[in-house]
Symmetry: C2
DNA sequence: CACAATTCTGTTGTGCACAATTTGATAGTA
DNA sequence: TACTATCAAATTGTGCACAACAGAATTGTG
């Protein structure tokens, strides 16, 4: 019962899914470590930056930016609201919408994590131009993967 | 209360974490779509390939390959066992260990998803050499991120 | 105006992920 | 032998993710 391995068979180590998977695990661990002292999870960190940069956002607009649906964002935002980082208010103009905005504490927290990108860049061992090129590749890849969707 | 944006501030769109996050979301959606008809989740697909390629594995060894701990793998493997894809047996030589191996059905299922890597490559819009280069970059990045860990 | 269709958010159920702890087995040492 | 330390897997608790659905508000059409 020896396992058969044709010469043209892709081993798991040769597949893009495995490379992406292990890289994400590694990034996740480093972000977890850097964000722990700030009381933020990785998704909360991204949400904090997105809201801070794009002002008050509806849940749907934040979901488009983060590629998450309401089933993920609603409980995540409630936890951030409970932590005092964001405020959620109904949009007067359209009562179906909920506007999410940073509180003063949220802005302070955002300022407190401003050195994280630099720390991540250092940990990655890549030069700024290598990072920029990787980012560019990932952006094109994301765009292609998303356009092919039904 | 206009948001202040210094010229040197990184916008979220310029950060590697955001690019990785959106790419992972996009990959996840495509894999979910391709694997749905086979009754596999993305982590289950990776586990299936890893076990099929590296023969019977302990939970710990599979965890090293997949960068997952027992808290994630135990229930995942139990679901795969319930689906008839893998068998779990205590290692006679060391009763602390559990050996995970593919069943005949698991091998059939693995053969059934053999075209997935090619489909993913096509969806990515990248050439084989571009994919290989991206994979190489990710592998080096993963190695660096993992070595810096305490 | 009435009413059907659409839009937006939230809830429920299932699966994936880790930290912390528990249970059981092995190895090492007095 | 007994005692400790270590190791492997499983369990528990919390958070993140989607699919499917529910409910309220808005929009479009007659």
């Amino acid at each position: 019962m020896t396992s058969s391995k044709p010469a043209d068979a892709l081993t798991i180590e040769q597949q893009i899914c495995y490379a992406m998977h292990t890289t994400v695990r590694a990034f996740d661990a480093v972000y977890r470590e850097l964000l722990a002292e700030h009381g933020l999870s990785y998704p909360q960190y991204i949400a904090l930056m997105a809201i801070g940069e794009h002002g008050p956002l509806t849940v749907g607009a934040l979901g488009e930016l983060m590629r998450l649906d309401s089933g993920t964002l609603s409980p995540l935002l409630k936890r951030m609201e409970a932590a005092g980082l964001v405020g959620r208010t109904r949009d007067r103009a359209d009562e179906r919408r909920v506007l999410v905005a940073l509180t003063d504490l949220g802005r302070d927290r955002l300022a407190g994590v401003s050195e994280v990108p630099r720390a991540i860049a250092a940990r990655s061992g890549l030069t700024l131009s290598q990072l920029a090129e990787l980012r560019s590749t990932l952006e094109r890849l994301t765009a292609t993967l998303e356009t092919a969707r039904p």
